[in-house]
Amino acid sequence: MELIILLFIAVLATFAGGELIGKVPPQLHTPLMSGSNAISGITIVGALIAVGASGNDRLLAIVGFCAIVFGTINVVGGYLVTDRMLKMFKKK
Protein backbone atom coordinates (compact mmCIF):
# COMPACT_ATOMS: atom_id res chain seq x y z
CA MET A 1 0.00 0.00 0.00
CA GLU A 2 2.72 2.47 0.95
CA LEU A 3 4.46 1.82 -2.34
CA ILE A 4 1.33 2.82 -4.26
CA ILE A 5 1.15 6.09 -2.34
CA LEU A 6 4.82 6.78 -3.09
CA LEU A 7 4.17 6.04 -6.76
CA PHE A 8 1.15 8.35 -6.65
CA ILE A 9 3.32 11.16 -5.26
CA ALA A 10 6.00 10.47 -7.88
CA VAL A 11 3.54 10.64 -10.78
CA LEU A 12 2.01 13.90 -9.55
CA ALA A 13 5.43 15.47 -8.99
CA THR A 14 6.52 14.39 -12.47
CA PHE A 15 3.54 16.08 -14.07
CA ALA A 16 4.05 19.19 -11.95
CA GLY A 17 7.70 19.32 -13.04
CA GLY A 18 6.68 19.09 -16.68
CA GLU A 19 4.03 21.79 -16.34
CA LEU A 20 6.46 24.18 -14.66
CA ILE A 21 8.60 24.35 -17.77
CA GLY A 22 7.25 25.56 -21.07
CA LYS A 23 6.89 29.31 -21.06
CA VAL A 24 10.43 30.03 -20.03
CA PRO A 25 12.30 32.71 -21.99
CA PRO A 26 15.50 31.26 -23.50
CA GLN A 27 17.79 33.60 -21.56
CA LEU A 28 16.65 31.86 -18.38
CA HIS A 29 17.29 28.33 -19.63
CA THR A 30 20.81 28.13 -18.21
CA PRO A 31 19.90 29.55 -14.77
CA LEU A 32 16.84 27.31 -14.72
CA MET A 33 18.89 24.23 -15.52
CA SER A 34 21.41 25.23 -12.90
CA GLY A 35 18.71 25.98 -10.33
CA SER A 36 16.90 22.70 -10.85
CA ASN A 37 20.26 20.95 -10.71
CA ALA A 38 20.71 22.40 -7.23
CA ILE A 39 17.34 20.91 -6.25
CA SER A 40 18.52 17.46 -7.35
CA GLY A 41 21.06 17.85 -4.56
CA ILE A 42 18.13 16.94 -2.28
CA THR A 43 19.81 13.56 -2.27
CA ILE A 44 21.86 15.06 0.59
CA VAL A 45 18.82 14.24 2.72
CA GLY A 46 19.37 10.59 1.82
CA ALA A 47 23.06 10.97 2.62
CA LEU A 48 22.26 12.32 6.09
CA ILE A 49 19.90 9.42 6.73
CA ALA A 50 22.58 6.97 5.54
CA VAL A 51 25.18 8.39 7.91
CA GLY A 52 22.64 8.63 10.74
CA ALA A 53 21.79 4.96 10.41
CA SER A 54 25.36 3.78 9.97
CA GLY A 55 25.70 2.71 13.61
CA ASN A 56 29.16 1.36 14.24
CA ASP A 57 29.73 0.29 10.66
CA ARG A 58 32.84 2.14 9.45
CA LEU A 59 32.33 1.36 5.78
CA LEU A 60 28.72 2.59 5.86
CA ALA A 61 29.77 5.77 7.60
CA ILE A 62 32.49 6.44 5.02
CA VAL A 63 30.16 5.85 2.07
CA GLY A 64 27.53 8.09 3.68
CA PHE A 65 30.16 10.71 4.45
CA CYS A 66 31.26 10.85 0.80
CA ALA A 67 27.60 11.17 -0.19
CA ILE A 68 27.22 14.15 2.17
CA VAL A 69 30.28 15.84 0.66
CA PHE A 70 29.08 15.21 -2.91
CA GLY A 71 25.52 16.29 -2.13
CA THR A 72 26.65 19.47 -0.39
CA ILE A 73 28.87 20.41 -3.33
CA ASN A 74 25.82 20.00 -5.56
CA VAL A 75 23.53 22.04 -3.29
CA VAL A 76 25.83 24.89 -2.23
CA GLY A 77 27.59 25.20 -5.58
CA GLY A 78 24.35 24.89 -7.51
CA TYR A 79 22.46 27.61 -5.65
CA LEU A 80 25.41 30.00 -5.52
CA VAL A 81 26.26 29.68 -9.20
CA THR A 82 22.60 30.15 -10.14
CA ASP A 83 22.38 33.24 -7.97
CA ARG A 84 25.54 34.59 -9.56
CA MET A 85 24.03 34.19 -13.02
CA LEU A 86 20.71 35.74 -12.03
CA LYS A 87 22.34 38.71 -10.30
CA MET A 88 23.40 39.84 -13.74
CA PHE A 89 19.89 40.01 -15.17
CA LYS A 90 18.92 43.53 -14.31
CA LYS A 91 17.71 46.39 -16.40
CA LYS A 92 20.08 49.26 -16.88
Binding site: V11, L20, M33, S36, L48, A50, V63
Partner: protein, 471 residues
Protein backbone atom coordinates in the same frame (compact mmCIF):
# COMPACT_ATOMS: atom_id res chain seq x y z
CA UNK B 1 3.97 12.96 16.00
CA UNK B 2 7.61 13.62 15.15
CA UNK B 3 7.10 11.69 11.94
CA UNK B 4 4.21 13.95 10.94
CA UNK B 5 6.09 17.15 11.72
CA UNK B 6 8.85 16.01 9.41
CA UNK B 7 6.40 15.21 6.65
CA UNK B 8 4.89 18.68 7.03
CA UNK B 9 8.39 20.16 6.74
CA UNK B 10 8.92 18.11 3.58
CA UNK B 11 5.62 19.38 2.16
CA UNK B 12 6.70 22.97 2.83
CA UNK B 13 10.02 22.39 1.12
CA UNK B 14 8.26 20.75 -1.86
CA UNK B 15 5.99 23.80 -2.17
CA UNK B 16 9.02 26.08 -2.04
CA UNK B 17 10.75 24.03 -4.76
CA UNK B 18 7.70 24.27 -7.02
CA UNK B 19 7.22 28.00 -6.49
CA UNK B 20 10.98 28.39 -6.86
CA UNK B 21 11.12 26.65 -10.25
CA UNK B 22 8.05 28.60 -11.38
CA UNK B 23 9.63 31.93 -10.42
CA UNK B 24 12.95 30.92 -11.99
CA UNK B 25 11.08 31.02 -15.30
CA UNK B 26 10.47 34.78 -15.19
CA UNK B 27 13.21 37.38 -15.36
CA UNK B 28 11.82 39.64 -12.63
CA UNK B 29 11.29 36.89 -10.09
CA UNK B 30 14.08 34.46 -11.00
CA UNK B 31 16.51 35.40 -8.28
CA UNK B 32 13.80 35.28 -5.65
CA UNK B 33 12.72 31.88 -6.99
CA UNK B 34 16.22 30.50 -6.58
CA UNK B 35 16.32 31.86 -3.03
CA UNK B 36 12.98 30.25 -2.14
CA UNK B 37 14.18 26.94 -3.50
CA UNK B 38 17.35 27.23 -1.38
CA UNK B 39 15.20 27.89 1.70
CA UNK B 40 13.20 24.77 0.83
CA UNK B 41 16.43 22.80 0.72
CA UNK B 42 17.52 24.13 4.10
CA UNK B 43 14.15 23.19 5.64
CA UNK B 44 14.41 19.65 4.23
CA UNK B 45 17.94 19.24 5.62
CA UNK B 46 17.07 20.57 9.08
CA UNK B 47 13.92 18.43 9.25
CA UNK B 48 15.97 15.36 8.34
CA UNK B 49 18.55 16.06 11.05
CA UNK B 50 15.68 16.57 13.49
CA UNK B 51 14.28 13.16 12.60
CA UNK B 52 17.51 11.30 13.25
CA UNK B 53 17.79 9.74 16.69
CA UNK B 54 21.50 10.03 17.08
CA UNK B 55 23.32 12.45 14.84
CA UNK B 56 26.94 11.43 14.28
CA UNK B 57 27.87 15.10 14.42
CA UNK B 58 31.53 14.68 13.49
CA UNK B 59 30.65 13.00 10.18
CA UNK B 60 27.78 15.34 9.32
CA UNK B 61 29.49 18.62 10.16
CA UNK B 62 32.81 17.67 8.54
CA UNK B 63 31.04 16.42 5.41
CA UNK B 64 28.86 19.48 5.02
CA UNK B 65 31.79 21.80 5.75
CA UNK B 66 34.04 20.18 3.14
CA UNK B 67 31.27 20.09 0.53
CA UNK B 68 30.18 23.67 1.23
CA UNK B 69 33.71 25.02 0.92
CA UNK B 70 34.38 23.17 -2.35
CA UNK B 71 30.98 24.18 -3.76
CA UNK B 72 31.16 27.81 -2.67
CA UNK B 73 34.72 28.39 -3.82
CA UNK B 74 34.19 26.85 -7.24
CA UNK B 75 30.85 28.62 -7.73
CA UNK B 76 32.28 32.04 -6.96
CA UNK B 77 35.65 31.57 -8.68
CA UNK B 78 34.47 30.12 -11.99
CA UNK B 79 34.54 32.43 -15.00
CA UNK B 80 31.15 33.16 -16.55
CA UNK B 81 32.38 31.61 -19.79
CA UNK B 82 32.97 28.28 -18.05
CA UNK B 83 29.49 28.20 -16.51
CA UNK B 84 28.19 25.20 -18.47
CA UNK B 85 31.12 23.05 -17.38
CA UNK B 86 30.58 24.09 -13.78
CA UNK B 87 26.91 23.09 -13.86
CA UNK B 88 27.94 19.75 -15.40
CA UNK B 89 30.36 19.09 -12.53
CA UNK B 90 27.87 20.02 -9.79
CA UNK B 91 25.34 17.78 -11.48
CA UNK B 92 27.85 14.93 -11.60
CA UNK B 93 28.37 15.18 -7.84
CA UNK B 94 24.61 15.07 -7.31
CA UNK B 95 24.35 11.85 -9.33
CA UNK B 96 27.35 10.43 -7.51
CA UNK B 97 25.76 11.22 -4.14
CA UNK B 98 22.59 9.33 -5.10
CA UNK B 99 24.61 6.31 -6.19
CA UNK B 100 26.52 6.37 -2.89
CA UNK B 101 23.35 6.60 -0.79
CA UNK B 102 21.85 3.65 -2.66
CA UNK B 103 25.11 1.73 -2.21
CA UNK B 104 25.05 2.42 1.52
CA UNK B 105 21.52 1.01 1.63
CA UNK B 106 22.65 -2.07 -0.24
CA UNK B 107 25.49 -2.57 2.23
CA UNK B 108 22.94 -2.31 5.02
CA UNK B 109 20.81 -5.03 3.47
CA UNK B 110 23.91 -7.17 3.24
CA UNK B 111 24.73 -6.46 6.86
CA UNK B 112 21.18 -7.23 7.91
CA UNK B 113 20.45 -3.77 9.34
CA UNK B 114 18.16 -2.44 6.60
CA UNK B 115 14.53 -1.57 7.25
CA UNK B 116 13.36 -2.44 3.74
CA UNK B 117 14.65 -5.22 1.53
CA UNK B 118 11.69 -6.13 -0.61
CA UNK B 119 11.81 -6.53 -4.37
CA UNK B 120 10.99 -2.88 -5.10
CA UNK B 121 13.74 -1.67 -2.79
CA UNK B 122 16.32 -3.90 -4.48
CA UNK B 123 15.27 -2.86 -7.97
CA UNK B 124 15.28 0.84 -7.13
CA UNK B 125 18.70 0.47 -5.48
CA UNK B 126 20.04 -0.98 -8.73
CA UNK B 127 18.42 1.80 -10.81
CA UNK B 128 19.70 4.51 -8.48
CA UNK B 129 23.24 3.09 -8.51
CA UNK B 130 23.33 2.72 -12.28
CA UNK B 131 21.73 6.08 -13.17
CA UNK B 132 23.70 7.85 -10.45
CA UNK B 133 27.07 6.50 -11.52
CA UNK B 134 26.47 7.10 -15.21
CA UNK B 135 25.47 10.68 -14.39
CA UNK B 136 28.71 11.01 -12.42
CA UNK B 137 31.10 9.91 -15.17
CA UNK B 138 28.96 11.31 -18.01
CA UNK B 139 29.04 14.76 -16.43
CA UNK B 140 32.82 14.65 -16.10
CA UNK B 141 33.20 13.64 -19.76
CA UNK B 142 30.90 16.55 -20.73
CA UNK B 143 33.06 18.83 -18.61
CA UNK B 144 36.22 17.52 -20.30
CA UNK B 145 34.75 18.06 -23.76
CA UNK B 146 33.74 21.64 -22.99
CA UNK B 147 37.11 22.38 -21.40
CA UNK B 148 38.82 20.98 -24.45
CA UNK B 149 40.59 18.37 -22.29
CA UNK B 150 38.87 15.70 -24.37
CA UNK B 151 38.38 16.14 -28.10
CA UNK B 152 35.14 17.97 -28.88
CA UNK B 153 34.87 15.77 -31.94
CA UNK B 154 32.57 12.80 -31.57
CA UNK B 155 34.73 9.78 -30.73
CA UNK B 156 33.54 6.73 -32.58
CA UNK B 157 34.91 3.31 -33.39
CA UNK B 158 33.62 0.38 -35.43
CA UNK B 159 31.08 -1.75 -33.63
CA UNK B 160 30.35 1.01 -31.12
CA UNK B 161 26.62 0.40 -31.03
CA UNK B 162 27.22 -3.29 -30.51
CA UNK B 163 29.58 -2.64 -27.60
CA UNK B 164 27.03 -0.31 -25.99
CA UNK B 165 24.31 -2.87 -26.58
CA UNK B 166 26.41 -5.57 -24.92
CA UNK B 167 27.03 -3.29 -21.94
CA UNK B 168 23.28 -2.73 -21.59
CA UNK B 169 22.66 -6.47 -21.67
CA UNK B 170 25.48 -6.96 -19.14
CA UNK B 171 23.92 -4.30 -16.95
CA UNK B 172 20.63 -6.16 -16.81
CA UNK B 173 22.29 -9.53 -16.18
CA UNK B 174 24.66 -8.32 -13.44
CA UNK B 175 21.95 -6.11 -11.93
CA UNK B 176 19.76 -9.21 -11.69
CA UNK B 177 22.58 -11.32 -10.26
CA UNK B 178 23.38 -8.67 -7.66
CA UNK B 179 19.92 -8.78 -6.13
CA UNK B 180 19.22 -12.50 -6.37
CA UNK B 181 20.44 -15.36 -4.27
CA UNK B 182 21.04 -18.99 -5.06
CA UNK B 183 17.37 -19.86 -5.38
CA UNK B 184 17.25 -17.69 -8.51
CA UNK B 185 14.50 -15.28 -7.56
CA UNK B 186 14.72 -11.67 -6.64
CA UNK B 187 15.64 -11.84 -3.02
CA UNK B 188 13.36 -10.83 -0.21
CA UNK B 189 16.24 -11.68 2.01
CA UNK B 190 19.45 -10.32 3.41
CA UNK B 191 21.37 -13.25 2.00
CA UNK B 192 23.05 -11.44 -0.86
CA UNK B 193 26.19 -12.24 -2.79
CA UNK B 194 28.29 -9.05 -2.71
CA UNK B 195 30.46 -10.15 -5.63
CA UNK B 196 28.20 -8.70 -8.33
CA UNK B 197 27.46 -5.31 -6.82
CA UNK B 198 30.82 -3.65 -7.63
CA UNK B 199 30.45 -4.91 -11.19
CA UNK B 200 27.10 -3.12 -11.48
CA UNK B 201 28.69 0.13 -10.25
CA UNK B 202 31.54 -0.31 -12.75
CA UNK B 203 29.07 -0.85 -15.58
CA UNK B 204 27.21 2.33 -14.64
CA UNK B 205 30.47 4.31 -14.60
CA UNK B 206 31.60 2.87 -17.95
CA UNK B 207 28.20 3.48 -19.52
CA UNK B 208 28.41 7.17 -18.58
CA UNK B 209 31.78 7.50 -20.29
CA UNK B 210 30.89 5.53 -23.41
CA UNK B 211 27.53 7.20 -23.96
CA UNK B 212 28.87 10.78 -23.83
CA UNK B 213 32.16 10.22 -25.71
CA UNK B 214 30.52 9.72 -29.14
CA UNK B 215 28.51 12.94 -28.84
CA UNK B 216 29.95 16.06 -30.48
CA UNK B 217 30.97 19.04 -28.36
CA UNK B 218 28.29 21.23 -29.95
CA UNK B 219 25.62 18.97 -28.49
CA UNK B 220 26.94 19.18 -24.92
CA UNK B 221 24.14 21.55 -23.79
CA UNK B 222 21.60 18.87 -24.57
CA UNK B 223 23.73 16.27 -22.82
CA UNK B 224 24.15 18.38 -19.68
CA UNK B 225 20.43 19.07 -19.55
CA UNK B 226 19.69 15.38 -19.97
CA UNK B 227 22.21 14.43 -17.28
CA UNK B 228 20.54 16.99 -15.02
CA UNK B 229 17.29 15.14 -15.58
CA UNK B 230 19.06 11.83 -14.82
CA UNK B 231 20.39 13.06 -11.49
CA UNK B 232 16.82 13.98 -10.59
CA UNK B 233 15.63 10.51 -11.50
CA UNK B 234 18.49 8.97 -9.48
CA UNK B 235 17.43 11.06 -6.47
CA UNK B 236 13.81 9.94 -6.92
CA UNK B 237 14.91 6.28 -7.07
CA UNK B 238 16.90 6.79 -3.89
CA UNK B 239 13.69 8.20 -2.42
CA UNK B 240 11.90 4.95 -3.23
CA UNK B 241 14.72 3.02 -1.55
CA UNK B 242 14.50 5.10 1.63
CA UNK B 243 10.71 5.65 1.42
CA UNK B 244 11.52 9.34 1.67
CA UNK B 245 8.89 11.74 0.30
CA UNK B 246 11.16 14.75 -0.05
CA UNK B 247 13.55 12.83 -2.31
CA UNK B 248 10.76 11.43 -4.46
CA UNK B 249 8.98 14.75 -5.00
CA UNK B 250 12.09 16.82 -5.67
CA UNK B 251 13.72 14.11 -7.75
CA UNK B 252 10.65 13.75 -9.96
CA UNK B 253 10.31 17.53 -10.29
CA UNK B 254 13.89 17.82 -11.52
CA UNK B 255 13.67 14.69 -13.64
CA UNK B 256 10.59 15.94 -15.49
CA UNK B 257 11.58 19.59 -15.82
CA UNK B 258 15.03 18.52 -17.02
CA UNK B 259 13.51 16.33 -19.72
CA UNK B 260 11.25 19.18 -20.89
CA UNK B 261 14.18 21.56 -21.04
CA UNK B 262 16.18 18.97 -23.01
CA UNK B 263 13.29 18.69 -25.42
CA UNK B 264 13.11 22.46 -25.91
CA UNK B 265 16.80 22.43 -26.77
CA UNK B 266 16.44 19.61 -29.29
CA UNK B 267 13.58 21.49 -30.93
CA UNK B 268 15.85 24.53 -31.24
CA UNK B 269 18.13 22.40 -33.40
CA UNK B 270 15.24 20.72 -35.18
CA UNK B 271 16.49 17.30 -34.13
CA UNK B 272 15.20 14.50 -32.02
CA UNK B 273 16.83 13.46 -28.76
CA UNK B 274 17.64 10.06 -30.28
CA UNK B 275 19.44 11.75 -33.11
CA UNK B 276 21.55 13.80 -30.68
CA UNK B 277 22.47 10.80 -28.55
CA UNK B 278 23.18 8.15 -31.12
CA UNK B 279 24.16 9.70 -34.44
CA UNK B 280 27.64 11.05 -33.56
CA UNK B 281 26.52 14.35 -35.02
CA UNK B 282 29.24 16.57 -36.35
CA UNK B 283 31.68 13.80 -37.07
CA UNK B 284 33.87 15.35 -39.74
CA UNK B 285 33.19 13.63 -43.01
CA UNK B 286 36.34 14.36 -44.99
CA UNK B 287 34.67 14.23 -48.40
CA UNK B 288 31.96 16.69 -47.39
CA UNK B 289 34.43 19.15 -45.93
CA UNK B 290 36.47 19.13 -49.11
CA UNK B 291 33.37 19.68 -51.16
CA UNK B 292 32.21 22.65 -49.17
CA UNK B 293 35.52 24.36 -48.52
CA UNK B 294 36.87 24.22 -52.03
CA UNK B 295 35.41 26.83 -54.32
CA UNK B 296 34.72 29.31 -51.54
CA UNK B 297 36.63 32.53 -51.92
CA UNK B 298 36.30 34.84 -48.99
CA UNK B 299 36.79 38.58 -48.86
CA UNK B 300 38.66 40.05 -45.95
CA UNK B 301 38.16 43.46 -44.39
CA UNK B 302 40.32 45.30 -41.88
CA UNK B 303 38.80 46.10 -38.48
CA UNK B 304 39.06 49.83 -39.26
CA UNK B 305 37.03 49.58 -42.45
CA UNK B 306 34.46 47.34 -40.79
CA UNK B 307 34.09 49.93 -38.02
CA UNK B 308 33.57 52.69 -40.58
CA UNK B 309 30.86 50.65 -42.26
CA UNK B 310 29.05 50.23 -38.94
CA UNK B 311 29.46 53.93 -38.20
CA UNK B 312 27.62 54.73 -41.40
CA UNK B 313 24.90 52.16 -40.74
CA UNK B 314 21.46 52.85 -39.34
CA UNK B 315 21.04 49.48 -37.74
CA UNK B 316 23.38 46.74 -36.57
CA UNK B 317 22.41 43.32 -35.31
CA UNK B 318 25.10 41.57 -33.29
CA UNK B 319 25.07 37.77 -33.41
CA UNK B 320 27.17 36.32 -30.57
CA UNK B 321 28.41 32.73 -30.53
CA UNK B 322 30.74 30.50 -28.59
CA UNK B 323 33.74 32.30 -30.08
CA UNK B 324 32.74 35.39 -28.10
CA UNK B 325 32.70 33.31 -24.92
CA UNK B 326 36.11 31.78 -25.63
CA UNK B 327 37.65 35.16 -26.37
CA UNK B 328 35.98 36.68 -23.26
CA UNK B 329 34.89 39.48 -25.58
CA UNK B 330 31.53 40.26 -23.96
CA UNK B 331 32.70 43.42 -22.18
CA UNK B 332 34.27 44.77 -25.36
CA UNK B 333 31.03 43.98 -27.17
CA UNK B 334 29.15 46.08 -24.60
CA UNK B 335 31.50 49.00 -25.25
CA UNK B 336 30.97 48.58 -28.98
CA UNK B 337 27.21 48.60 -28.50
CA UNK B 338 27.47 51.76 -26.35
CA UNK B 339 29.67 53.55 -28.88
CA UNK B 340 27.35 52.69 -31.75
CA UNK B 341 24.31 53.88 -29.84
CA UNK B 342 26.06 57.12 -28.98
CA UNK B 343 26.24 57.94 -32.69
CA UNK B 344 22.62 56.96 -33.22
CA UNK B 345 22.98 53.45 -34.60
CA UNK B 346 20.20 51.06 -33.62
CA UNK B 347 21.84 48.02 -31.97
CA UNK B 348 20.15 44.71 -31.27
CA UNK B 349 21.42 41.30 -30.31
CA UNK B 350 20.17 38.12 -31.96
CA UNK B 351 20.48 35.04 -29.79
CA UNK B 352 20.05 31.63 -31.36
CA UNK B 353 18.59 29.06 -28.97
CA UNK B 354 21.67 26.86 -29.20
CA UNK B 355 24.34 29.54 -29.54
CA UNK B 356 27.15 28.84 -27.12
CA UNK B 357 27.37 25.71 -25.09
CA UNK B 358 24.10 25.91 -23.19
CA UNK B 359 20.70 27.41 -23.82
CA UNK B 360 20.86 30.95 -22.56
CA UNK B 361 24.67 30.85 -22.41
CA UNK B 362 24.93 33.98 -24.54
CA UNK B 363 22.29 35.78 -22.49
CA UNK B 364 24.23 35.10 -19.32
CA UNK B 365 27.47 36.42 -20.81
CA UNK B 366 25.83 39.53 -22.27
CA UNK B 367 24.06 40.15 -18.98
CA UNK B 368 27.40 39.84 -17.19
CA UNK B 369 28.65 42.64 -19.43
CA UNK B 370 25.63 44.74 -18.36
CA UNK B 371 23.85 44.63 -21.70
CA UNK B 372 20.18 45.25 -20.97
CA UNK B 373 18.13 42.16 -21.72
CA UNK B 374 15.46 44.09 -23.65
CA UNK B 375 18.10 44.46 -26.37
CA UNK B 376 18.40 40.70 -26.70
CA UNK B 377 16.05 39.00 -29.13
CA UNK B 378 15.25 35.36 -29.75
CA UNK B 379 15.57 33.89 -33.19
CA UNK B 380 11.81 33.99 -33.83
CA UNK B 381 11.51 37.60 -32.74
CA UNK B 382 14.32 38.96 -34.85
CA UNK B 383 14.61 36.75 -37.92
CA UNK B 384 12.35 38.99 -40.04
CA UNK B 385 14.37 42.07 -39.08
CA UNK B 386 17.60 41.01 -40.79
CA UNK B 387 16.23 41.92 -44.22
CA UNK B 388 15.94 45.59 -43.20
CA UNK B 389 19.26 45.72 -41.36
CA UNK B 390 22.45 47.30 -42.61
CA UNK B 391 25.04 45.21 -40.79
CA UNK B 392 24.90 41.81 -39.15
CA UNK B 393 28.00 41.43 -36.98
CA UNK B 394 28.71 37.77 -36.29
CA UNK B 395 31.08 37.29 -33.38
CA UNK B 396 32.30 33.72 -33.08
CA UNK B 397 29.05 32.10 -34.25
CA UNK B 398 29.19 29.61 -37.09
CA UNK B 399 26.71 26.79 -37.45
CA UNK B 400 23.73 28.87 -36.31
CA UNK B 401 24.23 31.25 -39.26
CA UNK B 402 25.13 28.67 -41.92
CA UNK B 403 22.63 28.95 -44.81
CA UNK B 404 23.43 25.36 -45.80
CA UNK B 405 20.97 24.37 -43.07
CA UNK B 406 18.18 25.68 -45.32
CA UNK B 407 18.92 24.01 -48.63
CA UNK B 408 21.87 21.60 -48.57
CA UNK B 409 20.42 18.20 -47.79
CA UNK B 410 23.88 16.66 -47.51
CA UNK B 411 24.84 19.01 -44.69
CA UNK B 412 24.70 17.51 -41.19
CA UNK B 413 22.87 20.61 -39.96
CA UNK B 414 20.26 20.49 -42.73
CA UNK B 415 16.87 21.44 -41.29
CA UNK B 416 18.18 23.32 -38.26
CA UNK B 417 16.51 26.73 -37.98
CA UNK B 418 19.15 29.42 -38.41
CA UNK B 419 19.43 33.19 -38.05
CA UNK B 420 18.81 34.82 -41.43
CA UNK B 421 21.95 36.95 -41.28
CA UNK B 422 22.55 36.59 -45.01
CA UNK B 423 19.51 38.81 -45.63
CA UNK B 424 21.25 41.81 -44.05
CA UNK B 425 22.90 44.25 -46.43
CA UNK B 426 26.35 43.40 -45.16
CA UNK B 427 27.59 40.69 -42.87
CA UNK B 428 30.86 40.72 -40.95
CA UNK B 429 32.16 37.46 -39.59
CA UNK B 430 34.71 37.78 -36.79
CA UNK B 431 36.79 34.66 -36.81
CA UNK B 432 40.22 33.53 -35.75
CA UNK B 433 40.91 31.62 -38.95
CA UNK B 434 39.11 29.70 -41.65
CA UNK B 435 38.80 26.55 -39.54
CA UNK B 436 35.29 25.12 -39.46
CA UNK B 437 33.14 25.61 -36.36
CA UNK B 438 32.67 23.37 -33.35
CA UNK B 439 30.46 21.02 -35.33
CA UNK B 440 33.24 20.78 -37.89
CA UNK B 441 31.22 21.97 -40.87
CA UNK B 442 32.35 24.50 -43.48
CA UNK B 443 30.17 27.60 -43.76
CA UNK B 444 29.07 28.79 -47.20
CA UNK B 445 28.04 32.17 -45.76
CA UNK B 446 31.73 33.09 -45.73
CA UNK B 447 31.81 33.07 -49.52
CA UNK B 448 28.68 35.17 -50.05
CA UNK B 449 28.98 38.46 -51.95
CA UNK B 450 27.79 40.60 -49.05
CA UNK B 451 30.03 38.93 -46.48
CA UNK B 452 33.39 40.10 -45.22
CA UNK B 453 35.69 38.21 -42.90
CA UNK B 454 37.46 40.11 -40.14
CA UNK B 455 40.20 37.76 -38.98
CA UNK B 456 41.74 37.83 -35.53
CA UNK B 457 40.97 37.33 -31.86
CA UNK B 458 37.39 38.45 -31.25
CA UNK B 459 38.25 40.52 -28.19
CA UNK B 460 41.11 42.33 -29.92
CA UNK B 461 39.04 42.95 -33.04
CA UNK B 462 36.05 44.34 -31.16
CA UNK B 463 38.22 46.64 -29.06
CA UNK B 464 39.81 47.79 -32.31
CA UNK B 465 36.27 48.64 -33.51
CA UNK B 466 35.69 50.66 -30.35
CA UNK B 467 38.97 52.56 -30.75
CA UNK B 468 38.15 53.43 -34.34
CA UNK B 469 34.64 54.58 -33.48
CA UNK B 470 35.92 56.79 -30.66
CA UNK B 471 38.23 58.70 -32.99
Amino acid sequence: MKENLILIAYIISAILFIIGIKRLGKVDTARQGNFLSAVGMLIAIIATLFMMDAIPLEWVITGIAIGAIIGAVSATKVAMTAMPEMVAIFNGFGGGASALVASAEFLKIHGGSAANYDTTTLITIMLSVIIGSLTFTGSFIAWGKLQGKISGQPITYPGQNMVNGLILVGMVIFGYLAVTNMSGFVAETTDINMLWFPIVIAIGLILGILSVLPIGGADMPVVISLLNSYSGIAAAMTGFVLHNHALIVSGCLVGASGLFLTNIMCKGMNRSLGNVLFSAFGKVDKSVVQKTTTGITVKEMSPDNAAFTMQAAESVIIVPGYGMAVAQAQHEVRKLSDELEKIGVDVKFAVHPVAGRMPGHMNVLLAEANISYDKLFDMDEINDDFAGTDVALIIGANDVVNPAARHDESSPIYGMPILNVDQAKTTFVLKRSMNPGFAGIGNELFGYDNNYMVFGDAKATVSQFVETLKQ
